[in-house]
């Protein structure tokens, strides 16, 4: 990469994310697709912390962090202010948050933003865990994952619940465009962000972003893990317009992998392979993947 390219990065180097951070990769990709004419809001979480340690900032675009649960509300205020001030000349408002800031504590704010119909793109970086505070469970933590608040033990196989179906909840609000994406496929992220920004109204993009420290994987495996999630069917990639699925990322038969391939390298699933009875749980997770393949028609 040339110096010029480095300097023109909208989310600059020098931040303090872990080596191999999927969220950093995804966020940089989002911003490169969105361009300079944006205003970003950011919920409290890793992305905020690793990019803006005072007095430094990675952001070469206007950016504001307020609290953990209000990225969507702050974005709403920005969008309305731009219109009221006559400054809504193509500037895109983008709200960013982790899965906790989106699916748990920020759910009400997101719902309000969607329902009021603001012209905002909301991006959820889904690390499937509260990364920033030491890997606690969120509503988007998958079945049987070990987190610090859903530990494994004699009485526990880790997280006892399935991922909240957030895209469906967002769709029920009438969002104009919804997409799921993956840090394993940056070009796909870029296409989806550009497409999202071509719509007027509330848009939602949820990007599967491996958290190497929280998941317990080697830092060079970020992209491979993200791709395995997609190619096993555990993280279906699709796009919705006006509530209808308009496109899915097909898994070629040769690329299809069993969930094993995704689960085994991750320490958060190690208990499934260490203790008797774990195979039953792996089967349940495989069933989740199979159901996704069926539901979204992923094979092809």
């Amino acid at each position: 990469m040339s110096n010029e390219q480095v300097e023109s990065r909208l989310m600059a180097y020098g931040h303090t994310a872990c080596a191999g951070c999927g969220e950093a990769l995804a966020a940089r990709t989002v911003l490169e697709a969105a361009g300079r004419n944006v205003i970003l809001t950011n919920a409290t979480g890793c992305l905020e912390v690793f990019t803006t340690r005072f007095p430094r900032s990675s952001w070469q675009v206007p950016w504001i962090h307020s609290l953990f649960e209000n990225a969507a509300s702050v974005a709403s205020g920005i969008e309305v202010a731009l219109k009221a001030l006559g400054r809504d000349t193509g500037t895109k408002v983008i709200a960013q948050a982790g899965d906790g800031g989106t699916a748990d504590i920020g759910m009400g704010a997101l719902s309000g933003m969607l329902e009021r119909g603001h012209d905002i793109l909301y991006v959820c970086y889904d690390t499937e865990v509260y990364s920033n505070t030491g890997y606690q469970r969120s509503g988007l933590t998958p079945l049987n994952a070990l987190t610090t608040t859903s530990p494994t033990g004699k009485m526990s196989w880790g997280n006892a619940t399935r991922k909240k179906d957030l895209p469906a909840i967002v769709a029920a609000h009438g969002a104009v465009y919804i997409a799921t994406a993956s840090a394993g496929y940056p070009v796909d992220i870029q296409r989806k962000i550009k497409k999202a920004l071509s719509f007027t109204g509330p848009k939602y993009v949820q990007i599967h972003s491996p958290c190497v420290s929280g998941w317990g994987v080697e830092s060079h495996l970020t992209v491979r893990m993200a791709q395995a999630a997609v190619n096993s069917g555990l993280y279906p990639l699709f796009e919705m317009e006006d509530g209808e699925i308009v496109r899915v990322r097909k898994i070629k038969r040769d690329d299809l992998v069993p969930v094993d391939e995704y689960l085994r390298p991750q320490k958060r699933f190690a208990h499934l392979y260490r203790y008797p009875g774990g195979d039953e749980h792996v089967k349940q997770i495989q069933a989740v993947a199979d159901a996704n393949i069926e539901r979204y028609g992923l094979l092809g």
């Binding site: 340690r53 952001w59 209000n70 709403s76 202010a81 009400g108």
Partner: protein, 394 residues
């Protein structure tokens, strides 16, 4: 123009005259009429502003935060539970130096749930970094909003205008509503010192560690201390332009040569002034100090105003449970290190809308004249109710 208006309506009219660019609030009694009146003005085209129907007070505060950071004059209003729900955002707005203006229709805090007036809500949030001013009547509440926007935007500090719920928000009074030209000349359009724009990207709300957090908080504290002078200037300039002066930080009433000084804030002052007039007629040396600005706390002005009195009784509608009235403790701090200190007593009155009658105030004043021992009292408690509540608790 003199008009007969309900307090909430008056506030809405005054806020509209300030030409906010973004308005966002969530309904809660007794604030609701204010946002309803603003909504009607927007619907009629009498007010031109971005208007957001918030899903909670938390969102309402966050929306005005975002709008203010984008360079828009932003307004919200709330009360009681709504204010407490906003708490996290309140600190955040102040920490980011955003000049938001908010009306608090003062109301009691749950439990027990109670929609009537006291000042526990805003007094509980006195440390969140907002300037806090308390209005005595509807006219002052209206005028205070014009001053609030001017002060907030000059200093980049948010301002909370507190007015007693029901007693002021739902009282119909004659109000002098200024013309738009007059307000425009006092309050110029908002010119933000910094705002979010792609033309000049800034980062707002970054993380400061132990190496910088304390310095940033210190700057906030210093800015707040300097705000006292701005409030004084602003009230003087307002008096020049509008012909009305109701005090700036503190204001005395028949206080010279008073042996007993009663201190209070908000609508209680009206009742207290009547009582003091009567007591003066009877020859009792009693006066009043009104606290108009609670933050920044006018420590020097209060010391100056109170130090010649023998006895001070702080009469207020809030309590720091386990201590005493909040304002009373703060007034004690004004005498820290002083060689001569009046005897200062705390009187907590009117919680949850309990009527504060002239005879209650009279009893407090006469009690202090005959016995100046420092004490903490809850005045106006019904002992039969207390007894039965006690039985239930046991």
């Amino acid at each position: 123009m003199r008009r007969i208006l309900e307090g909430s309506r008056a506030v809405a009219e005054f806020v509209a005259l300030c030409r906010p660019k973004v308005v966002c609030a969530y309904p809660i009694t007794p604030q609701t009429h204010i946002v309803e009146d603003l909504a009607r003005m927007l619907a009629d085209g009498r007010l031109d502003a971005g208007y957001v129907l918030a899903d909670s007070e938390f969102t309402a505060a966050s929306v005005v935060l975002g709008a203010s950071a984008t360079g828009a004059r932003a307004y919200t209003a709330t009360s009681s539970q709504g204010l407490l729900l906003m708490t996290e955002v309140m600190f955040n707005i102040a920490g980011m130096r955003l000049p938001v203006v908010m009306t608090v229709a003062n109301r009691a805090v749950s439990a027990p749930i109670n929609i009537w007036n006291d000042q526990q809500d805003s007094m509980s949030l006195r440390d969140c970094g907002w300037i806090q001013m308390y209005a005595e009547d509807v006219q002052e509440a209206g005028d205070m909003h014009i001053q609030a926007f001017e002060i907030a935007e000059r200093l980049n500090i948010p301002v909370m205008v507190c007015m007693d719920g029901y007693i002021l928000t739902h009282a119909t009074e004659t109000v002098d509503v200024p013309g738009p030209e007059q307000v425009d000349s006092y309050l110029p359009p908002f010119e933000p010192r910094f705002y979010l724009t792609p033309d000049d990207p800034i980062t707002l709300g970054s993380m400061a560690g132990p190496d910088a957090y304390m310095e940033i908080r210190m700057l906030l504290h210093q800015a707040m201390q300097k705000a006292s002078q701005a409030i004084v200037d602003s009230a003087a300039r307002f008096a020049g332009e509008f012909g009305r002066f109701r005090g700036d930080l503190v204001e005395g009433y028949r206080d010279s040569d008073a042996e007993v000084l009663l201190v209070s804030m908000g609508s209680l002052l009206g009742t207290m002034k009547e009582v003091v007039d009567e007591l003066r007629d009877e020859g009792h040396p009693v006066g009043i100090i009104k606290v108009r600005t609670v933050r920044p706390f006018p420590r020097n002005q209060l010391h100056e105003a109170l130090h010649n009195a023998r006895v001070v009784g702080v009469v207020e509608k809030d309590i720091s449970l386990g201590l005493e009235g909040i304002l009373c403790s703060e007034i004690r701090s004004a005498f820290c290190g002083a060689s001569l200190t009046p005897n200062i007593s705390s009187f907590v009155v009117g919680l949850g809308g309990r009527d504060v009658r002239k005879r209650d105030i009279r009893k407090i004043a006469l009690g202090l004249l005959s016995d100046d021992t420092c004490r903490v009292e809850m005045t106006g408690v019904d002992h039969e109710v207390l007894w039965s509540a006690h039985q239930i608790e046991d």
